[in-house]
């Protein structure tokens, strides 16, 4: 349907990233962070102005044990409360241009915009959470996040997280409604291939999911207006 058009449009913006991840599939390079992203695809509509609409209180963000890039255990709630949070599930071996590379691309665009906003950078955090606990160890996530962590930005938080096991992960997947499917794995590539619908979650400071973005709404301008809308509540 129309999503196909959206996918086609957004995929164009992610082709460079796709090349990076495909080239790295099955090798250590799979854990490298995506290159600095290209600008996202152009929106085909004007999003409503901040504060002129309401964002649904869709559901409480689930909580559970996670690991940061140093392997330290924490509760996910530590990363979904008290600030406006943009959370995306990824796995570092993802080669789907419509998936993780696009999420990284958009979050990175938001990261750049937030860094320039003294008003928002301390009110908003970004979270990237792996759904492949077998391969995405804390060390792998640290490599994935290396560029961002090295860059740093005072006051602006971007957490890269994973889980210790599928047992810790699955309640989070089910709680967010993030589907992950096993897909056939080509010979010689690292297993598994994890099919999923790209979703980025907007969470308010109370820990309530207020919007879920797929490829069709995953534009920095839309995210920015939604963040402003939450701030105006």
């Amino acid at each position: 349907m129309s999503s196909l058009r959206a996918l086609a449009a957004t995929a164009a913006g992610a082709l460079a990233l796709l090349g990076v991840t495909l080239a790295g599939a099955g090798a250590a390079a799979a854990h490298e962070p995506p290159a600095v992203p290209d600008p996202p695809a152009v929106m085909d509509f004007v999003p409503p102005a901040p504060g002129t609409y309401q964002l649904h209180a869709i559901m409480p963000a689930p909580d559970g044990p996670v690991l940061d890039v140093r392997g330290r255990r924490a509760r996910l709630a530590r990363f979904t409360r008290d600030k406006i949070t943009l959370l995306s599930f990824i796995y570092t071996n993802c080669a789907d241009a419509r998936g993780c590379p696009l999420a990284y691309q958009v979050l990175h665009a938001m990261y750049d915009r937030l860094r320039e906003s003294p008003d928002l950078r301390e009110r908003v955090r970004l979270v990237t959470l792996s759904f492949d606990p077998v391969h995405d160890t804390p060390a792998a996530m640290r490599r994935y996040a290396n560029g961002v962590l090295a860059e740093g930005s005072p006051g602006l938080e971007w957490a890269f997280l994973t889980t210790a096991s599928a047992r810790d992960l699955v309640p989070l997947l089910d709680g967010f409604g993030q589907d992950v499917r096993l897909e056939p794995t080509a010979n010689g590539t690292r297993a598994p291939r994890l099919g999923h619908v790209l979703k980025v979650f907007l969470i308010d400071p109370r820990g309530i999911v207020r919007e879920i973005y797929t490829t069709s709404y995953l534009f920095p301008d839309v995210l920015w207006n939604d963040i402003e809308t939450l701030r105006l509540e």
């Binding site: 349907m1 058009r5 085909d44 609409y53 869709i58 992960l169 997947l173 409604g177």
Partner: protein, 439 residues
């Protein structure tokens, strides 16, 4: 009840042009937020089936038919789940992750959620929402349309007068009500509702309009004799700001515009609908300045003969449209190469009464179901109840299999959705345990 002997009747003809028609099916009309469309061979056809007193257990039920020719059970019923009541089973819709199938009744306003992800061959009931009417004020949950993490549920009526003024509800995928939106009654709006369809690329949602519980549950002969009731059918569509869920413009589309189908072709920005009462196809698109409008673009059969278009199914590339007409049991194909001028290129009588039509993503398989509404289906020998599968080679519909829903003591076959074995979730052992614990 519809009956062939009424056909010559002028009164009957007058009634027919105000009948409600049901639909929404096939792989090409799912919500654009559903990421895992079945683009190969479907393994199952789920059929939401109206219970018939004295036939089997008499309850509404979800019937699963094996639809893959490689299956030893091809064309057979392999599973059925009764819901324990009879509430005018009508339509269904998948959640965005395709793990759950929501289905509801137009009479009792109850919603049942089936788990089709854990074992697609054996759907099971995991949730019931019995307070749709009391919580929303709406009656007759009709369209189930997925948004990320949510379901839009379009009502047909309301609790106050059972008329056509209604609205839609927004539920979380867990079944919690999170928003209620009334259809507009100002700026030309009639407040009626029927179908919903989203074009996220344009931030647009379209809605169509039908009639209320007082009409659609009424025995047809009594409805026909009530001139005032016959006036109470929708004649509008609404263009919504999807992000804000606020109406932007009301379009005049007379004749009860029902199913809405967006063209899926890259770059297209138009939708099509069938007005049941006037037997017309309408095109909805923006003009050069971006202003949305609707215009009549084709006639379906001979409106004077009251063919009654009930369901439509668009090709994945927007190049063609199937149209089922209930009264003459005919399946028609329109070439949409130029959506401004659809051309009928094929027709075939596929049953004594036909309602729903669903096509596979590749367009090679077409499924047809028979039932419209319990009180409006034909009677006697004309009351065939079936799902018929056809192969389509671009020139001819060739029968593939048929399930006789009366012989199988199932009921009236209505809405169809597809399932596939390939929807295998990651971490199955842990996930099953987790799902069970939170249920």
């Amino acid at each position: 009840m519809l009956c062939a002997r009424w056909l010559p009747s002028i009164a009957f003809a007058a009634a027919l042009i105000t009948l409600p028609f049901t639909a929404l099916a096939d792989e090409t009309c799912n919500s654009p937020y559903m990421g895992n469309l079945i683009k190969g061979q479907e393994d199952y056809v789920y059929v939401w089936t109206l219970g018939v007193p004295g036939l089997g257990d008499g309850f509404d039920k979800l019937v699963t038919i094996a639809a893959n020719p490689k299956s030893p059970d091809y064309g057979k019923v392999i599973h059925k789940v009764s819901v324990g009541g009879r509430g005018e089973a009508h339509h269904m819709g998948f959640t965005d992750d395709r793990r759950f199938l929501w289905a509801g009744g137009l009479d009792d306003s109850k919603i049942v959620v089936f788990d089709v992800g854990t074992d697609p061959a054996k759907p099971k009931i995991v949730r019931r929402i019995n307070d749709f009417a009391t919580k929303t004020g709406f009656v007759g949950p009709h369209t189930y349309y997925a948004m990320p993490g949510r379901m839009l549920v379009q009502g047909l009526s309301n609790t106050k007068d059972k008329g056509g003024a209604t609205g839609f509800a927004v539920y979380s995928n867990r079944g919690e009500l999170i928003n209620v939106v009334s259809m507009p009654t100002d700026k030309g709006g009639d407040g009626y509702g029927y179908d919903l369809a989203i074009n996220p690329q344009k931030n647009v949602m379209l809605s169509s309009s039908f009639t209320g519980h007082a009409n659609y549950m009424r025995p047809l002969d009594k409805l026909v004799g009530d001139a005032e009731a016959m006036k109470k059918f929708g004649s509008t569509m609404v263009v919504w700001d999807l992000k804000a869920l606020q109406p932007r413009k009301v379009l005049a589309v007379p004749g009860a515009p029902l199913e809405i189908r967006w063209s899926l072709r890259d770059g297209d920005n138009w939708a099509i609908t069938a007005a049941a009462l006037t037997s017309k196809l309408w095109l909805i698109k923006p003009d050069a300045s971006g202003e949305w409008g609707a215009k009549e673009v084709a006639t379906i059969g001979d409106p004077a003969k009251i063919p009654l278009p009930v369901d439509i199914s668009i090709n994945r590339d927007g190049s063609g449209l199937w149209v089922n007409t209930f009264m003459d049991g005919t399946t028609r194909y329109f070439d949409l190469t130029n959506p401004e001028q659809p051309k009928q290129t094929y027709e075939k009588v596929t049953g004594k009464q036909v309602n729903m039509i669903s096509q596979s993503w590749d367009g090679k398989r077409v499924y047809i179901a028979s039932s419209l509404l319990a009180n409006w289906d034909k009677t006697g020998d004309f009351n065939e109840q079936f799902v018929r599968a056809f192969k389509w080679d671009g020139k001819e519909l060739t029968p593939a299999f048929e399930v006789d829903f009366i012989k199988e003591k199932l009921g009236r076959a209505h809405h169809m959705k597809f399932g596939a074995k390939s929807a295998r979730l990651a971490y199955p052992g842990v996930r099953t345990a987790s799902a069970e614990s939170t249920r």
